[in-house]
């Protein structure tokens, strides 16, 4: 498990998607975490210290695991870049819109062809 900074993590994630494009899967997990052990957390609780939570992001393809943590300040920037990567890489999904467009076009053609017949 390698804990990376957000930007190197996104780069690694991109290459992980590329490596698994022909075969294999990619898992990405989000979890709320303080990145501290239970013992540490208990110590902090008894000491009355506030526990800081961050969003832990982990990605794996079954062979390699990478991770990063995103705090309250930088999560918006990170999720924007993350969304861009997903959009660029998730190209194997079916596009339902096309079907809708075709159906819509057919309907229009039908209605269009009916009109001249009536005339």
């Amino acid at each position: 498990m390698v804990l990376l900074q957000p930007d190197p993590f996104l780069n690694e994630l991109t290459s992980m998607f590329e490596r698994n494009s022909e075969t294999g899967s990619v898992w990405v997990t989000l979890k709320r975490s303080s990145l501290k052990s239970k013992v540490q957390k208990n110590k902090m609780k008894t000491a009355g210290q506030p526990i800081e939570y961050r969003c832990l992001v982990r990605a794996t393809d079954g062979k390699k695991t990478i991770s990063t943590s995103v705090g309250a300040k930088d999560h918006q920037r990170f999720q924007a870049s993350y969304a861009t990567i997903l959009k660029a890489r998730m190209t194997a999904l079916k596009k339902r819109e096309r079907k809708d467009r075709k159906k819509g076009a057919e309907d229009k053609k039908e209605s269009g062809s009916k009109k001249p017949k009536r005339v």
Partner: protein, 103 residues
Amino acid sequence: MVYIAAWDEFVERTVQLFRADPESTRYCMKYRHCDGKLVLKVTDNKECLKFKTDQAQEAKKMEKLNNIFFTLMARGPDVDMSEITGKEQMEAQPAKKGRGRKQ
């Protein structure tokens, strides 16, 4: 463990699950490019909610769920959700208009 068919139900129940136990709930996405399949899973180790799709349209919706969970996890479960959902509605409306024009 059963797949939830309706997207809105999935979103509602996953957010509820997270709010009930923020520290042990995780949100996992599995993407398989060669089969063109996407599976979303949210679990707190007691209950497990899953959603499966092969549609690009659902991936767009997933983006919004990603935003919800990033915000909830980074800022805390008590964050004002109306801020995020309000933005979503703003984004969703022009998208629908765009589709209409293309037809």
